[in-house]
């Protein structure tokens, strides 16, 4: 009754969510394997093994759009090996492969999962719907049960597992080409690991004002976050986006400046230790979850904050 974890390659290493999922999987079952879609397989086998995978099935993308080929190969493999469940993260490759695998094999998917458990032989996945206000537990009857989990739902902890045994799996070429890959470097600490996150929203008023956020983050040794409104306006790259369709963060302190607190943003930061919000609208929903709310103009509060921090 194995549990498999799909792991896509992010900057040459297994995606952080896949390590979180492996940690969870090994608490549920002794038989855990990973399915790795990427090229740096040797390093990956070590990391995936440490996090609980005894075997890693390796799918190699080779410059083509990999999802269709990967889903096809995975379907054959799953039919031969009959895993109880396959767990995915929410990255673009995860979603592409999970969706295609589901359609190909006729199995249902639980998306946005924040908890996974086994009740005897029964797999139960929980997710939050309606913007994280309602929790739903779903019994997954299909085999393999496909669960797409939210990042940071579980904590990644390496165990003492040896490097996983690599089993290469052949896959068909994709009907599409990857011509270029670009990394949009963001400076400063990694958003998902930072202890302090300073985020800006549309309330800042313009791309140039985003400097205020950079400054505060820099002074606090924190990372820079943003809302989708700001990313869509092109003020900062997508890699800074926090929320339902962006990153999930759990820093000790989260500062939200000029952010209304739409539920799609809040699901990505509501589990932060302390939330500080600055917004000129006293009715802004962000104040409903803030430990400290300053009703005021970001363009006066932030410069003064910067001055005070610089003076220390």
């Amino acid at each position: 009754m194995a549990i498999w974890v799909f792991s896509s390659e992010v900057e040459g290493a297994p995606s952080p969510t896949s390590l979180e999922l492996l940690t969870k999987a090994r608490s549920l079952d002794t038989d855990v394997a990973a399915v790795y879609l990427g090229t740096s397989i040797e390093e990956a086998a070590t990391v995936l093994g440490a996090h609980g995978a005894a075997t890693v099935y390796h799918l190699s993308p080779a410059g083509a759009l990999p999802a269709a080929g990967a889903a096809g190969a995975l379907a054959e493999l799953a039919s031969a090996e009959s895993p109880r469940a396959i767990l995915f993260g929410m990255g673009p490759d995860d979603r592409d492969v999970a969706g295609r695998f589901s359609a190909r094999t006729g199995t249902a998917v639980v998306a946005n999962a924040i908890d996974i458990r086994l009740d005897g032989d029964t797999l139960i996945a929980s997710n939050e719907i309606l913007g994280g206000t309602v929790r739903v537990d779903t019994e997954v009857a299909d085999r393999p049960g496909i669960v797409i989990a939210r990042p940071k739902a579980f904590t990644a902890e390496p165990g003492d597992g040896a490097a996983a045994t690599v089993t290469p799996v052949a896959m068909e070429d994709g009907r599409g080409t990857v011509l270029e890959s670009h990394v949009e470097q963001s400076e400063g600490p990694d958003l998902t690991k930072a202890d302090v996150v300073v985020s800006g929203g549309r309330g800042l008023g313009g791309a140039d004002k985003f400097e205020l956020i950079d400054k505060v983050a820099g002074l606090l040794g924190g990372a820079v976050g943003a809302t989708r409104a700001v990313v869509d306006s092109g003020w900062v790259p997508y890699s800074h986006q926090i929320g339902q369709t962006g990153k999930t963060v759990k820093p000790s302190v989260y500062i939200a400046a000029g952010i209304s607190g739409a539920m799609q943003h809040v699901v990505g930061m509501k589990d932060s230790g302390t939330i500080i919000a600055i917004n000129k609208d006293p009715e802004a929903p962000i104040f409903g979850i803030a430990d400290l709310g300053i009703v005021g103009d970001v363009n006066t509060v932030l410069p003064k904050l910067i001055e005070a921090l610089e003076a220390r």
Partner: protein, 256 residues
């Protein structure tokens, strides 16, 4: 080029959603709106159709209601709509939704299918990939920019760390993020014309899909409970000294 756009009608997100206590399904009001997420797909489709003398057909599954959302989409400039409304489809999961949409799109014929990356109310974020697999076409997903020339469709595909440039040839499916284009607002003329545009209403059975609803889901809801929300703390009006409260809290939390 025949372009199919998946567009969903949803309850107005500005009004709180209600769950039916028995079925756990979202209560759908008569008046629904076009999912904002789908305005981007419609805009991309219109731009492609304008450049390549194409047609834009909307595909929507769910309670048709007053069709307000569909009319909004037609008012932007889409040519026609196919709405699959069937009592048996209530409570359908993503896969059933994809099966229904794929069957309707296939029946109509297509060169390109366009969808959003995730719906505002359901946000499973996999219906489009399922449709692509069912139609057996490549999928260019998470487009934040696109171009179409020499018969090739090329996008900037958003990744976790940046973007990839990927390309394929139709028939294909593409999902678009909200940063990809600026959706147009319907003009008065568009709104008037939308009233005359064809809207075809069909059932799942007419598409040859028998197993629908939660029966086909392969899963069952066992519990539904409210999520405890965070408590609000101190809220103060900035009198010029608001920053000092922030400094104080940062000190308390030992960040500085």
């Amino acid at each position: 080029m025949r372009i199919a756009v998946c567009a969903k009608q949803i309850p107005d997100p500005a009004t709180p959603y209600e769950l039916d206590p028995e079925t756990h399904f979202v209560v759908r009001p008569e008046e629904q709106v076009l999912d904002d997420t789908d305005r981007y797909g419609i805009e991309v489709a219109l731009q492609l159709a304008e450049a390549a003398e194409g047609t834009v057909t909307l595909f929507s599954m769910g309670p048709a209601g007053s069709m307000q959302g569909i009319r909004q989409a037609l008012a932007m400039g889409a040519d026609k709509a196919v709405v699959i409304d069937d009592e048996g489809l209530r409570g359908s999961g993503a896969l059933t939704t994809a099966r229904v949409l794929a069957a309707a799109i296939e029946k109509e014929g297509f060169d390109l299918v366009i969808a959003g990356t995730e719906s505002t109310d359901g946000y499973t974020g996999i219906v489009p990939q399922q449709i692509a697999e069912l139609l057996d076409v490549p999928a260019l997903t998470f487009a934040r920019a696109f171009s179409h020339d020499d018969g090739k469709l090329r996008i900037e595909r958003q990744t976790e760390v940046g973007y990839d440039v990927v390309e394929t040839e139709p028939p294909a499916l593409m999902t678009v993020t909200s940063g990809v284009v600026e959706p147009r607002y319907p003009t008065f003329k568009g709104i008037m014309q939308a009233k005359q545009k064809p809207v075809e209403q069909i059932t799942a059975a007419e598409l040859g899909i028998e197993e629908t609803g939660s029966v086909a889901a392969g899963q069952a809801i066992t519990a539904v409970s409210p999520v405890p929300s965070r408590e609000a703390g101190l809220k103060i009006e900035d009198d010029g000294e608001g920053f000092a409260e922030i400094v104080k809290m940062l000190e308390e939390r030992k960040v500085i």
